[in-house]
Symmetry: D2
């Protein structure tokens, strides 16, 4: 199923019901130039023992992150437990981060919901709360119907109605759905869609996305530290890496080695990051990320239920994955 | 990973943080006897052209359903597009159905959310809105962490805090997650958990669940008309069937033939329902269900975005699947 | 992708290169009437400690099976470890079984290979060795290319060149491939294709196959005891059940209860067979089947490498699955 | 499940039944030093119109390949249609290649079978036919039982009894099975196991394998041109690439750019190879590989049945994937 490569054609295709607000009201040429290059931790959300958002601890984490050469922060990504927060909490957390974040750092806020309408509303609230860009995950409950036309329609409507640039977000481990290449190609032509965070990690697909969107200045971010160097090798421009919540300087150092062509050093560092990264993502998830944050001087704490604390055996496995690579 | 079969043991295992409110405050012996036997359509939610809930059309559908020998209705199941509704809309729809529904019919309301806390809150609102029981889907975004202990913890807390009985809901096609047998076995011992709607359709698993929960009066409902007769053969007691929105009398007739042992007639009818059922579920989804409803005298209409209307080719395929089995 | 329903059309479609030998040389009307109804154990292959086929032990098993009211035996099914045998061994085992088997019992021999050519050759050898019918598994190594046209072509050529009737064999757990409905429908019209052994266990699909091949006298066999009763309920005519190697009388009793409409007794027996069946198939595989055979008075013994003996923990789990259902 | 990292421990674990012939009879220190670095086409097998191996055309292809700076050839890989060849044919093809191949090029022969015994026998025949090393695919029919201990046992026995070094081969798209990391780690310590051809393409896993086998001089080869540059970036030493049958010089050029650190040129070339590579592998398979070979001056021709020729639409798609990247 080939999408028209011309944005004009896509517009016609999708014309009914769309109000391309961006055409009159915003300077999208500027938006399109927002430079995403660099490393972003998708920050965790600390909770109090009563499972309320702990803004004090969040603020303390932010002050520590301010000393690390991140390009910015992702707020309300999967590692922020956004599906467990109310809409109000999601917006409040973004506001709190905005107040604390230095002006030269980007705030990318997750604003994806299942319905297009809810996503647009939350996107606009996130922009009002100070987000520089929004990260919009693929809707996924009706995955059997989320083919390219449906996804193109969804993201186009959101981008048309977003006051800030949009970054697409594909995370198959959580959604059971990969954003298809033809949808990415079509969407890359939208002036208010900047790029893609790809957490799927299919490096062939990542290389192909870079190749097929070359004329669009479309920016691809690796969605995990596990394949960061490989993603740079095929043309990605940065990474949104859970592990950067824990080993932020090291992930930034890997970025630096990759972009400056110091490949042997990069390779050695990359290899030492794979197991800790897998431990705090695929293998043991957000509870492990938060546990590891505690070990490295950040506030992690408990997750909201139904996410459970690590068992003793899991904690030991987590420690081993950091120790055996020389991080603990 | 074997769960203790004894509810006492499960209670001890899960004791910390649980407030088994039901122990003091409700008559769960009564709750446990709520008889679920029969057929339930998981009703669709009609929308206006502006994508608002169309309560007028909903009411007209309900009046038609009142003449069909359903055991009750499921409100806010997957076919009700609940992930696209706000919490307020979800509750309002339940209230509207309650006002219309004859007193002898059960109202089972979907109240599942990703977090335990939100699920408990919505469960209590659904009970207040008049639900006789709640249908609670497995949380699924963090599917890698939704193992049996996490799911047992989640459903136990919900059941502990629910004023009405709970029915578990496993729908892997949407959630990417199957509720494991050991979790079902453990949860079947909770006095406020009545049964399971299984939409996975693994008939061996369904038979085993019936077998392993035999002492608990645990009631299994087939989650689709496609395997309804097979599910009866291995011990299910009813069905929540999307197709019953369209061919309600016929699904009830199939139930009747199954429970009265008229197997040849049942088989012939079951076979004619498989393709129409697949068309409005797995193959073409909710938009097809709503289209077919229109053909059979009900209000279907459009879905909320990002669900797209059927293409012309899909509409023809849908029609063929009804025609070739003699329904159109 | 719809296949023509008319055999004439299929023939034209596939005409090049096909030599429909059956048209002139055999009485396929007779072949088509071969009645498959009943239960078949897919017999295990005993080995000596040196991993040679142990024909003596095989013979002793056969004498015990002769006293059980099986319809026949499947030789060289998945449970016979056929992928580990040479072509010569496969044929020799069939010859040995033929010598021993009473004349009124069917011998169905597995003759599937990856290439069409090799499958035809082995099919003809199996017929010469005394097979009444052949069971032909889907080729699967190039699974990405095994779409309906390729599979229809393959099975058509095999059936055209087979001196005995062909039974299709779909076993996704081993092949990673399900024989698609449209291919089954097309192939059901071939006069030398009798039916299908379905080990996938998708009961909706099984019901639909029965429905869509109704005019062809196409016979569906359940490929596992786990869903035997459900398969009967939707129109299957028998079963090829690994568990029948161990609990042969009981599986035949379940058949008897199903076909005579004694549903409550059937259900109770079916439920007690699910766990033992899962243990000797999906969960623990052929080594468990052979271990359980030893417990019930048959020769099982070791598998060929790389299949490993059960660990102690696995043996205990296997025993539990028989004990907790009252079989040990 | 952690395997002992020490080969001694593995030996003890696996001791029964193993005859570590290599300990006495061969100079494995030498074997371990066989340098695999470079590019290998897994050559296709040309057939005559009667589906016999066409040795004449094979020879003509080999003469053309001799002019390309390959490190060697893989004979009887998946692209050689080995599952469709008899054992005799498999050996004859290797002999034919050996006669033609310049002495300084490596001949790696596929010798994997389902059983350990058959694999050992074919391995020895391949060595006798002139193979410098053997490529041994994971057995896969009983995939549910092919856990790490079974696979370690299998490959250890094969390596113990092989006169030439062994390269492991993991190709999940065909086998439905990924060789687990712990098995690779254990096997990397065997003196007669040189490395791994990884066709799965999980770049994080590839990086981790390189990292965890660092002390063993274990050599990882990318199993596809689609992720060749990424694999080099994380430490692979070469590639076995179907596309090298068609664009051999270009794949070798990509290797050259990668190892000499000319990353921008490498990236541009890599990106242009992804679509043609996908077309001749995952998307359209061996028939497409053979069609593309024809376009580029090699003998491709038809596949053995059940592999079907490309449809007209597929041929056009294949052509587009080469044209749009500037290769046709």
């Amino acid at each position: 199923m080939l999408l028209s490569r011309s944005w004009r054609a896509v517009s016609v295709l999708l014309s009914e019901g769309l109000s391309p607000a961006w055409k009159q009201t915003r300077n999208h040429a500027a938006a399109a130039r927002l430079d995403l290059r660099g490393i972003y931790p998708p920050i965790a959300t600390p909770f109090t023992p009563q499972e309320d958002v702990d803004f004090q601890k969040l603020e303390e984490n932010l002050q520590k992150y301010a000393k690390i050469p991140f390009r910015g922060l992702v707020v309300q990504g999967s590692n922020g437990e956004y599906p467990f927060l109310t809409e109000e909490e999601r917006v409040e957390v973004v506001k709190a981060v905005r107040r604390s974040l230095p002006a030269d750092k980007l705030l990318m806020a997750g604003s994806g919901c299942e319905s297009t309408k809810a996503t647009i509303q939350l996107t606009q609230k996130m922009a009002a709360a100070g987000a520089d860009a929004v990260l919009v995950v693929t809707p996924c409950f009706y995955k059997g119907k989320m083919n390219s036309p449906a996804l193109v329609q969804h993201f186009t409507k959101v981008a048309d109605n977003s006051p800030v640039p949009v970054v697409l977000y594909s995370v198959p481990a959580n959604t059971g759905l990969e954003l298809p290449l033809d949808a990415v190609m079509g969407l890359s032509e939208h002036p208010n869609i900047l790029g893609l965070k790809d957490s799927g990690g299919d490096i062939t697909q990542i290389g192909l996305i870079v190749h097929k969107t070359k004329t669009q200045d479309f920016q691809v971010l690796a969605g995990s530290a596990g394949f960061l160097m490989a993603a740079y090798s095929v043309g990605a421009v940065g990474g949104v890496c859970a592990l950067a919540n824990v080993l932020g300087r090291e992930v930034c150092e890997l970025e630096h080695l990759c972009v400056s062509g110091r490949l042997e050093e990069a390779r050695a560092l990359q290899q030492r990051l794979i197991e800790p990264n897998a431990a705090v993502t695929r293998k043991l998830g957000v509870p492990a990320l938060k546990q590891a944050m505690e070990w490295f001087g950040f506030h992690g704490g408990a997750c909201r239920s139904p996410l459970q604390p690590l068992t003793e055996a899991e904690t030991q496995q987590l420690r081993r994955d950091f120790c055996s690579n020389g991080w603990l």
